[in-house]
């Protein structure tokens, strides 16, 4: 999305992290967007996906939403609200900062989340975006 530049003063490129039990080394943009818009709720091996997010106004969340999903945070929130308040899906689990993000993804089977850097941490797997 071209005019993402309009809103984005953040240069940090978000990395996609998953629980080490999640299969595969990469994920497609379409699949990532389907997961974060709550359309895809299972991994290809049918394990349930547990989605973690930072608060709507967190710079890393803003960068992730715009750069990786091509969606503004407000559009994501609208999608989550419509699906969760109507009982059709659960909104992602919100964590307060990147430390909690890493800890929850490490501890939760099927988890997906993101951090500000593509650097590795013990017990967390990084997925390449294709």
């Amino acid at each position: 999305m071209a005019s993402i530049i309009l809103f984005s003063p953040f240069a940090a490129s978000a990395g996609i992290i998953v629980h080490p039990g999640v299969e595969g080394r990469s994920i497609s943009t379409v699949s990532l967007r389907n997961i974060y818009t709550l359309r895809q709720t299972l991994w290809p091996n049918r394990q349930p996906i547990v989605i973690f997010v930072l608060p709507d106004d967190h710079p890393v969340h803003e960068a992730f939403a715009k750069e990786k999903l091509g969606l503004y945070p407000y559009r994501l929130r609208q999608t989550w609200d419509r699906l969760s308040f109507s009982g059709m899906a659960s909104a992602p689990v919100e964590v307060k900062d990147e430390n909690e993000m890493r800890a929850r993804v490490r501890a939760t089977p099927g988890a997906i989340g993101y951090t500000s850097k593509d650097t590795g941490h013990d017990g967390i797997k990084i997925l390449r975006l294709e």
């Binding site: 809103f7 609208q78 969760s84 109507s86 659960s90």
Partner: protein, 397 residues
């Protein structure tokens, strides 16, 4: 819905929900359960007519919404969810706290890209883009939904009803599709519904019969949403002890088309429907077969991450073949402007924090076709041209 009718079904479901919620407290803090809620207060001022309370030439504080929503996934394939709602909207809604919905959703077939499920209970009714979360202020495009399509006058019919829906979804290269197909028994028995369909409050009762509901939705890879909603509802009238009306029956059918295109920070939305209303055998009320026309065009512009402007033109004709209401006036002696509404709306939204939203909205209205009856009981006292402003503060947790 009156207090006496907050019984049976509702009590049972509410009881179940509360029992379940006390069990959640012991569950580990993971993603299997979720509780969220909201509270909102509005201020309304208007000229010439009343809207949600005493708003004419003064300020009504009679528009309050609050909700507590819970969902629990005891199994991967089973989701229980429900919402308790408090709503006050002038004389039109004085029911206070009620169970909005309580449903069980069983996903009996699931892969990473497709699913099929069955939801049952007091289920949320699919209708257009906004109906399922119409009482959650954050999910609406404005303080009020476009009244042509989402008529607050008939909201009891559209909210939720005991029944069952088969649903499915698929995410593929050509986009995401989903469908709902179901059978419900909607609630026709309210003063506002009497006003909309029978012209006034009636002493008897409209009893809903089986209603077919279906919705097809396609979200294309180009950020376009296309949707069709169909409903076919029937109700029988049981006259009161002293009643001018006979035991008639009514049928209400509607096919609603939705188009939404999302560009970068701009969202354009249009919905169009031609609901058909048939009344038969009501005695004093002549047999009626009319086609209503309801449509709006709306633009939303997120000009700053926390600010949004909305402009909408909303059209409502109670009879497609008598848009200006002259035939109606000649036949009944009632004002012609009760048969139509043309409404220009300008709205501003500010998400002050992720949990606090403030909104302002201005309506320039020509016609009284969807003016809330209980707030304006004197037909002859209603005026054709009126304006309205609204402010709303909404908090979520």
């Amino acid at each position: 819905m009156t207090a006496s009718r907050f019984s049976g079904w509702n009590k049972l479901l509410l009881g179940g929900l509360l029992t379940a919620s006390s069990a959640w407290a012991d569950a580990p803090a993971d993603s299997r359960y979720h509780i969220q809620g909201f509270a909102a207060q509005g201020l309304i001022g208007s000229t010439n007519n009343q809207f949600f309370g005493d708003s004419r030439d003064t300020v009504s504080t009679d528009f309050t919404e609050a909700g507590l929503h819970g969902s629990w996934q005891p199994l991967d394939a089973l989701r229980l969810s429900g919402q308790v709602l408090y709503r006050r909207a002038g004389e039109s809604d004085r029911d206070g706290v009620r169970l909005d919905y309580a449903q069980a959703d069983w996903r009996f077939y699931q892969t990473d890209v497709t699913r099929l499920g069955l939801k049952l209970g007091k289920v949320k009714l699919p209708y257009g883009l906004y109906n399922e979360t119409r009482d959650v202020p954050f999910t609406r495009p404005g303080i009020l939904l476009p009244q042509s399509v989402y008529v607050d006058n008939s909201r009891d019919l559209l909210l939720a009803a005991p029944g069952v829906f088969l649903h499915g979804a698929s995410a593929q290269k050509y986009g995401a599709t989903d469908f709902l197909l179901g059978w419900v028994r909607p609630d026709f028995d309210s003063e506002s519904v009497d006003y909309s369909f029978l012209g006034n409050v009636r002493s008897g009762k409209l009893k809903g019969k089986g209603t077919l509901g279906a919705r097809l939705r396609w979200d294309t890879p180009t950020d376009t949403t296309l949707m069709l909603t169909y409903a076919d509802a029937r109700a029988d009238y049981a006259p009161g002890s002293v009643d001018a009306l006979a035991a008639g029956s009514m049928r209400f059918r509607n096919l609603l088309a939705t188009v939404q295109q999302r560009f970068d920070t701009v969202t354009l939305t249009a919905e169009y429907g031609e609901p058909r209303l048939d009344l038969r055998g009501f005695g004093a009320l002549p047999d009626t077969h009319r086609t209503i026309q309801a449509a709006y065009l709306q633009g939303e512009w997120r000009f700053h991450p926390a600010w949004e402007l909305m402009l909408r033109h909303d059209l409502f004709y109670r009879d497609k073949n008598d848009k200006n209401g002259r035939q109606f006036q000649a036949a009944t002696g009632l004002p012609a402007h009760g048969m139509f509404v043309r409404d220009w709306t300008l709205g501003l939204r500010w998400d002050a924090t992720p949990s606090l939203m403030l909104r302002a909205e201005y309506h320039r209205v020509d016609g009284t076709g969807w003016l809330p009856g209980p707030d304006n009981p004197d037909f002859l006292g209603r005026e054709q041209r009126w304006n309205m402003w609204l402010l709303q503060a909404a908090y979520r947790f």
